[in-house]
Amino acid sequence: MSAWREPPRLYFLASRLDLGTTVAATLLALLALVPVYAALTGDVYALTLFTRVLILALAAVSLNLIMGYGGMVSFGHAAYLGIGGYAVGILWKEGFSSGFLQWPVAIGASALFALAIGALSLRTRGVYFLMITLAFAQMIYYVAIGLERYGGDDGLTIRQRSQFGGLIDLDNKTVLYYVCLALLAGSIYLISRLINSRFGLVIQGSRSNDRRMRAIGFPTFRYRLACFVIAGALCGLAGALLANHTNFISPATMFWTRSGDFMVMVVLGGLGTAFGPLIGTVTFLLLEEALSRVTEYSGLILGPLLLLVAIFLHGGIESLLAGLCHGKAP
């Protein structure tokens, strides 16, 4: 579990960097250049693809907070993506297209749902927690299907992106891209500070040995719940971004297999590491993209690949990189 010490952008040369962080920092730099590449080559698809990568990476970052650092393996995280997205969609449909209203509502609604779900689910652990979060997400999925006015099963086309009164024009693909990148980078930084703060140590300690945490005097439930809410809220923000990016939101965003995708991205990249979720998301989505160009049956390759990762690559890619650096097996 690598503890983040200094933000690499500012103290890049000063701190000792392991291979994982170097790769990740390089990745961020490359990602910053995507719109430039797109402008030069006219490859708009690349811009669209990577915007999606950024948004889903943000969702993965939020899941990593509870799963990687907190040890709360939630199988219902895609629900918050949907809640955030629907907040934007529903508000737009009802005539409120201001981003200044939509985005706080998206975050707030996700936080509220996380509070309710967490309050019930966090009384359980392990496999029970896994399944109860799964079931609650499905519940929200069905609620969305029942929302006839907002498209129901077919989903809702959102014809106008969030308006920020001329300050930020999200209709401009490049602007949207950099907004997503900034939010992603900002979130990674904020979480890295959070994880080493008093709050973060309680969360990590709880993951390591909850019984001992209570024995030394921590009322761990409230801290884990707070963490769960923060993660839900952050994912809600990602949902708002997604709704803007695709101009669309549907219940399918919340189907449980989507939560599975996020878990894969987080584990693939390396649980409980600062850049793991980003690395994992990039890897997973680019792999998916590459495979779909080669074959119509990408699952035949992706599936066994996931199985192999589960069997051999415990700590995900980040541990693989760390291992290469120190000459150890992951």
């Binding site: 579990m1 503890a3 500070r193 959070l194 080493n196 703060s197 008093r198 709050f199 973060g200 140590l201 309680v202 990590q204 300690g205 390591s208 040995n209 019984r211 001992r212 945490m213 209570r214 024995a215 030394i216 005097g217 921590f218 009322p219 761990t220 801290y223 707070a226």
Partner: protein, 254 residues
């Protein structure tokens, strides 16, 4: 002070058909070093679990400093001043020794809804943690990850964590389990130094240590208190000899 720090009355716990605690009564005055001994399966760890709040009792009451704490959860009891060490080492893997103890300090340093400052750089947490480590002789090993500590050092760390919470009552569950003779000796010295400054309830199999340190000893057999008194009295109690000491519970020093 007339009121004992810990007053246990009629404490009972059943697990299915097994009575792990049978109407246990215990009075521990402030500052006393009280040992609890008994053969394996006598219910000693259950007693600690009941006192610490992990196990809900079926009957009886626990009063701490005059206050009925029978319904309080584990963390609340810790905040009241009851600290506990575990028989099977229970630390925070993936952290250093200092981190472990600092967490214990943090738990008693107000709420932890603080999201920005790096807690590992917080002197308010690190200094008391270092002091606690020094008390058990581990101050040089603070930055070592606990997986790299020896078994004896981990047992010492257990105590350090309990001490870091500035307890009034220390519940020690076989702190010397698995220790060699040299390490045990160091532990006994450390416990002797603690004596008087904090009230201690010690569960141990090491008879030498028990009789050297304890002001009073309670003997537990099948969940029942069969004797309670100062060491010589207990040593000579016929019921105790028959039930326990007669069996020569030999502690093997690894």
């Amino acid at each position: 002070m007339s009121e004992p720090l810990l007053k246990v009355e009629g404490l009972t716990k059943r697990f299915g058909g097994v009575v792990a605690a049978d109407a246990i009564a215990l009075d521990i005055p402030h500052g006393e070093f009280h040992a609890v001994i008994g053969p394996n399966g006598a219910g000693k760890t259950t007693l600690i679990g009941l006192l610490a709040g992990e196990i809900p009792p079926h009957g009886g009451s626990i009063r701490f400093d005059g206050r009925n704490i029978s319904a309080l959860p584990v963390h609340s009891r810790s905040l009241l001043g009851i600290a506990r060490s575990f028989q099977i080492t229970s630390l925070f893997g993936g952290f250093s020794a200092l981190d472990n103890v600092a967490l214990a300090v943090q738990a008693h340093a107000g709420h932890s809804f603080q999201f920005w400052e790096n807690a590992r750089r917080d002197d308010a947490l690190r200094k008391p943690a270092l002091e606690a480590l020094a008390r058990v002789g581990l101050d040089a090993r603070g930055d070592i990850h606990i997986d790299k500590l020896s078994h004896g050092e981990q047992r010492q760390l257990e105590i350090a964590m309990a001490l870091a919470t500035k307890p009034r009552l220390l519940l020690l569950d076989e702190p010397m389990a698995g220790m060699g003779p040299e390490e045990s000796g160091r532990m006994v010295d450390m416990l002797r130094n603690l004596k008087g400054s904090v009230t201690i309830l010690l569960i141990e199999h090491d008879m030498e240590a028990v009789f050297a340190l304890a002001d009073r000893v309670t003997v537990l057999v099948y969940g029942r208190v069969i004797a309670c008194g100062d060491p010589p009295a207990v040593r000579n109690d016929p019921a105790v000899r028959e039930a326990y000491l007669g069996e020569q519970d030999v502690r093997v020093h690894e």
